[in-house]
């Protein structure tokens, strides 16, 4: 019987210590894409991929059959768009990686999604709160990207925005239905929105990579989308008779690979099969 190599705790500690002393929390260089466009496409693709994977956890568990179908179909839209974006990211990188390679063979620190999409589903209200906030933002983002000077990105966005508009409307309906529903549904929706509100600022965060791309008309200036987002959210909350969530400071870090603990657990499930059986086909 083959034996596993013995892992010495002091070796592990030394390796961790070395990494932290250097101040590096980044993934190994060979798993990263240096090109600015590639990095941007990873951010967009990872947002969709991780939110899509999260939604699939509802499959078979939603409160009603129709809702189960809705969540699974929205997951499908998101994962479909992620495939297009990550395939393009791999093409830009030019090292032969496709969407599958990027989705299944990157470690947690190499993921560039925002923190909101990796948050656990919580209850149904919390899932819908997250989806409403993200889809409302994403409609504005994709409408802008449909006019990107990069024609490949523009056509993916033009196709995707038609799908995400549906998500925004469906989730807004649930904000109203639960917010203006029973005492309990209202409480839960308030809690769901409060939890996710701390992750909203990151959706509109710009850095040097995106500013440069936005100046060339490739990317969208996220910061410029905030006013429209705030107005759309306020209108739905008013209809839902819900208070505006307040949180003093947004949590950031996802775009640099500084994720919450939750993402690793999500990837463990998502990546298990292709990592255990590389190149498996059926």
């Amino acid at each position: 019987m083959p034996s596993l190599p013995t892992i010495q705790p002091e070796d592990v500690a030394a390796a961790e210590h070395a990494a932290h002393d250097e101040g590096h929390f980044d993934a190994p260089a060979e798993t990263q894409i240096d090109d600015a466009l590639g990095e941007y496409l990873l951010r967009l693709g990872d947002d969709n991929l991780i939110l899509g994977q999260r939604l699939t956890e509802w499959c078979g568990h939603a409160p009603a059959l129709e809702v189960d179908l809705s969540l699974a179909n929205m997951a499908l839209d998101l994962i479909g768009q992620a495939t297009l974006l990550l395939d393009l990211a791999g093409e830009v990188e030019g090292r032969g990686r496709d969407a599958d390679a990027l989705a299944f063979h990157r470690d947690v620190l190499a993921f560039r999604n925002c923190l909101m999409v990796e948050q656990p589903n919580g209850d149904f209200a919390q899932t819908m709160a997250r989806h409403f906030l993200f889809a409302t933002f994403q409609v504005a983002l994709l409408e802008g990207l449909a006019a990107s000077t990069n024609p490949r990105l523009a056509e993916i966005a033009a196709k995707g925005v038609k799908e995400i508009r549906y998500h925004a409307e469906l989730s807004a309906d649930w904000i109203v239905r639960l917010g203006d529903g029973t005492v309990e549904s209202r409480e839960r929706m308030i809690e769901g929105l409060d939890w996710h509100w701390r992750f909203v600022d990151e959706l509109f965060q710009m850095d040097a990579v995106e500013q440069d791309l936005a100046a060339r008309g490739v990317a969208v200036d996220r910061a410029a989308l905030r006013a429209r987002f705030d107005a759309a959210v306020a209108a739905t909350l008013m209809e839902a008779t819900l208070p505006a969530p307040t949180y003093p400071r947004g949590v950031l870090g996802g775009r640099k690979g500084h994720h919450s603990e939750h993402l690793g657990h999500l990837l463990a499930i998502m990546q298990y099969l292709p990592r255990s059986y590389p190149d498996a086909r059926w």
Binding site: E66, V67, L69, S70, N73, M74, L76, D77, L78, I79, G80, Q81, T83, L84, P151, A154, E155, I156, A158, K159, G160, K162, E163, R165, Y166, E169, L170
Partner: protein, 163 residues
Amino acid sequence: MSPSALAIDEAAILAALDDVPDPEIPAVSVTDMGIVRGVGGTPPALLITPTYSGCPATLVIEASIREALDAAGFAAVPIRTVLSPPWTTDWISERGRDRLRAYGIAPPPRGAATRSLRAVDEVRCPRCDSADTREISRFGSTPCKAQWQCRACLEPFDRFKCH
């Protein structure tokens, strides 16, 4: 086969695909659905487009089209997927709409893609033709369909989403 021969054969190629069913809705063909966009590009290829970004039938559709092309003697014609202009329900042909209705699926109205999703369209029951219908769920058995019910005959039915 030379490029000019391909161009000449476009009609024959499309005819060969006229019987290739959509795997999710076998009552309509891939040409009825507007999935097949004809021959074009350089080098010339059969252009196809997905209905939804995440449509899981995309790979099956491409495989079925490949098989039909090979069987009709067009093995040399490559297939290329294009995204723009994005597919909308307006790409579904009149024959496709008739076939959907006969199959029990309410087809989407024309020009749906340009209107708000919340626009109130008249939706007729594909069974009894009553306009007294209601939406049960925005999402149905496939990403492209919503669930509706007829108040007159009480039958639930699928409606092709305005998209």
